[in-house]
Symmetry: C3
Subunit: 120 residues, 3 copies
């Protein structure tokens, strides 16, 4: 906890995933919501097969999902969501002629049934 | 919003993901539930490593998850689920000798903490 | 139902996904919670692009999500979570010098809007 998933469409060729994940993780650390930086587990996945809507324009997206153990307030979650979106907005530039949508979802993981162990 | 994820096992070699995603998106547009076709963000992911149950028969699956901003009725979500399943049923044919399971999950994304911006 | 997703970071090179998925599925069958072994749909995904926290140590993770139709008690879900974590703990050995985190999330899928069909 937390788990972060970033998906990006393959037409966003300039996206530097290493840099982006590190910046997202730094934003989460800076929120003060998490006890240990070590707990933040983030991954990026390039989406090769996608379709945005039904139109013919070239389109793409970056979609982040942040999964937290349940119990945080809506206000805290909204702030986390906005801080991650700010990182996504800052990392562009996006390719010419591609309509890009950036989104961040925050969802709860049930704290009572989440299991974890750290090794090493 | 909405986000659609389609996973399919690699043994379903005849699946045309471009055509399938477009048909799923058209079904969502036809539902009248979404303000703009542009908002529908769909992706397909081929699952190379999988196991269905514990038996030895050859098996596969297509699993769709549709994520919506919270607030729609169970009835509306059920109709969306069934309309997407109907698309999956219609796109077969499936390989001989493979037991295939098709499923659609509809889940809510918390509207209050979802952030989004469109660029270009 | 159920759906199981296993993600593992690419630096955990010794992980045998076929064996791991089969053992996880056997643990689910042994729980007695599921009517048919055939219903258990599990997949493994190797995460090539990831970042754990902000530190410089080599780190990795195995993250399992189990999605169940809604209605089971917290106690049952906790037992399922712990039995899957026990499998993950048992399958190591993990690479020297990598800090590995193992986690299991159990989440509900809305039973009223889940659609499914089996073919063949």
């Amino acid at each position: 906890m937390p788990h972060l998933h970033l998906e990006y469409t393959a037409n966003l060729t300039q996206l530097d995933t290493d840099k982006t994940l590190l910046r997202l993780n730094h934003a989460l650390v800076a929120s003060g919501q998490f006890g240990a930086e070590f707990d933040i587990k983030s991954r990026a996945h390039k989406v090769e097969s996608f379709r945005v809507g039904t139109g013919l324009n070239e389109r793409g997206f970056v979609a982040v999902r942040l999964a937290l153990l349940s119990g945080r307030s809506a206000q805290v979650k909204k702030q986390l969501s906005e801080s991650l979106l700010a990182v996504l907005q800052d990392i562009g530039d996006w390719p010419e002629g591609v309509q890009v949508q950036l989104s961040v979802e925050v969802r709860d993981m049930d704290r009572d049934t989440y299991s974890k162990v750290a090794i090493g």
